[in-house]
Symmetry: C4
Subunit: 234 residues, 4 copies
């Protein structure tokens, strides 16, 4: 019997990793999800290099926000330092997901924000989905995964974006990072991003001059689903 | 045992909602279908926020055309007022379906009608599929879902279209609404629309100057399938 | 027990119709395959309007090349006269398939031949896949399905194409017709056409100036698979 | 009981062929994988013309690098001489895979290298994926499959590429060949190539001017996964 104090957290991280894979968002093994326990300042993340078919809840690695392993025998995902940096900098995140889904990656490689073109987008966030520029060479050659976190938070700071309002970002030339109140929501946001990325792609192929969604519709769709007057549910 | 007088109507609405989902037309939970009993002036619609895996026939909510709940404990879909408005304005509709299918949404976001380019389209309707323009700000800020219905019927009135002949519309920047003699047909029209939307997309990518289908073919394909001399069936 | 002399022919037609559907080439119910017995001058074809899930071998309708029903109680496919015309005009065809597969239809709606751009195409035929122009109005308003056959054979006559060498055609604004030595091969050619149509689409999106396959490669790939010196097999 | 000294090699080749098919990379039967035993100078390859559903490990054909059959009763794949040429010229290859996957073929037909546009690509190789030009006519008319191997190795020689560093190539107007330390890795590289081909396609549709990945990111992603300081694993 497991007597680990992190059994629930590891189960949550495990389930979210498997869901990301089941949704078809993971190309090869390129994906990782973590689940945080903010009260204890720790998070559980997928181990490095274990195929999904063999992954078990007990394989999850638990670390604190300074990347010290608290529990687990396997090596944590190589992207761990991006996760820990975001948990440390942005209070209140309960989960983070990273993947290489096709349309999300295509926009990241195109180095373009995904413009808000419709209500599917506005149901989830009121801003264009930001694409952080590729890192400066010295940041790449340094502590790369840590600096990926820096690049994300800098992008939000410069554009005055709040991570609670914009729960997703594209890292230029790389791919998407999404977050949420827990790991399941981070995975859900990854799916929303991929869907919105494909819709925006198709829209601009049909009409390269398709206008941004008008402000009144952005506000209406967002507030009917979020905030104190929310009444939305399809 | 259920002694509800709406058991059959709710079963029809339930089956149509599940079919819309099974056809892959529902992105996330973004879809809702209703089934109307025109003789009694009521319709059954999907409740708000229940995942498809947990949905049951008895969860459907029955309302009259003034949005008064006649039977059901759950909150009806947030798009209910669009459904009720269309049932009230357009006599004879037996079902309405709404979803966020990818190619349908892309054309709606492009704010373009889907031109009639081939016989697959003409087998179902003789007009371009209309894209209603986004609503004026005061309509958005008012009774939004009700006004979505207004926007649809206004679009048909201005263009002199009959809902019996054109059983589908795109709402600009939002997505498709389809209808029919019953809920199953409304779902079928949603699939037709998504297929025709993808074919038109691909056609114009290959040949941006692809001509509209000639009038003789439009009439031939439509009349061999519809009307008193119909003989069609593949 | 069936004592029909057409049991085998009907079984062949049934299996081919089900395979066309299983391959994902049939949009809705838009597809039909027939199998011919050239020695007896008859063919078996899918009945009109029966859903695939309910289709049975005994439902196939057997007709002669003058469209007289030889066996069967159901109404034959509305495209029957196109099949019979081709069997009558082009000796030796053992099967014909028609569908509304997405990329094949897109090229038909674009009213463009599919250019031969690679060895996948050349493994099957040495010519561009012809797109017959839409019919003249008087042909459409007349015996439409019969005249679809006329349009196809006229297109081949004008371009000096042999149906044995080019076992497929696009009918402008409509979709593909494919044929072969039997119904199974007609279905296989439908799949080849859809694949080649998608490859050509993607190729020209990447490089609108992609050159036609050079003649030496066309001849090499075709002759290693066809004719007396064939040695091909992957 | 089999007493063949090649049972293991044939099992490896069989499994890799089935995996290539299961991954959806084989269009029709257009695919073949071989597994080499470099110590004995032989390889096992798929037989010609056997459908995947009927393929068995014992059907694999074993040949030496001069194309002499060492074991097996069936005819080896018609592409066998391309495989043997590459094994002979490039020491150390343990497996080779060929297929007609859609996006890989599209780039080959477009006669363009696939530019390195993101980290998904850089995780596997640091170069653009080369597209060898179509062969000269006399090479096509001669020993075609042998000369396909010549065309590939010539392309690498001219561009100063090492097969260990660039484990994949497009043959112009034809399709991809991939290799690796064993047959399973050759199949994996085929999947990587198809994924990267689709990502690059989408990226350039969104932004035709998308820049090549910066050199620091290319080096970082490749070295964190390969070489003596590798630490990568998602």
């Amino acid at each position: 019997m497991s007597t680990s104090p992190y059994t629930t957290l590891k189960a949550e991280a495990y389930a979210a990793n498997m869901e990301l894979h089941a949704l078809g968002l993971v190309i090869h093994t390129f994906g990782n999800v973590s689940a945080a326990d903010t009260s204890r300042g720790v998070f559980a993340i997928k181990p490095s290099g274990v195929p999904y078919a063999k992954l078990r809840p007990e394989d999850m690695v638990v670390l604190d926000y300074n990347n010290e392993v608290v529990e687990g025998k396997l090596r944590p995902s190589s992207d761990t330092r991006t996760h820990s940096y975001l948990y440390r900098e942005w209070e209140g995140l309960g989960g983070i997901a990273h993947c290489h889904a096709l349309y999300s990656v295509a926009w990241a490689q195109a180095q373009q924000d995904i413009p808000i073109l419709g209500t599917t987008h506005a149901d989830h966030l009121t801003h264009d989905i930001p694409c952080a520029p590729p890192m400066a060479d010295e940041l790449i050659q340094g502590n790369y995964e840590h600096n990926t976190g820096v690049q994300i938070t800098e992008c939000f700071r410069e554009r005055n974006l709040e991570p609670q309002e914009v729960p997703m970002v594209l890292v230029g030339n790389h791919g998407p990072f999404c977050w949420g109140k827990d790991a399941a929501q981070a995975v859900h946001h990854s799916l929303v991003l991929e869907t919105v990325a494909q819709m925006a792609y198709l829209t601009l192929q049909i009409n390269p001059g398709a206008p941004r969604l008008k402000e009144a519709l952005i506000q209406k769709h967002y507030t009917r689903k979020h905030g104190k007057d929310a009444y939305y549910g399809q």
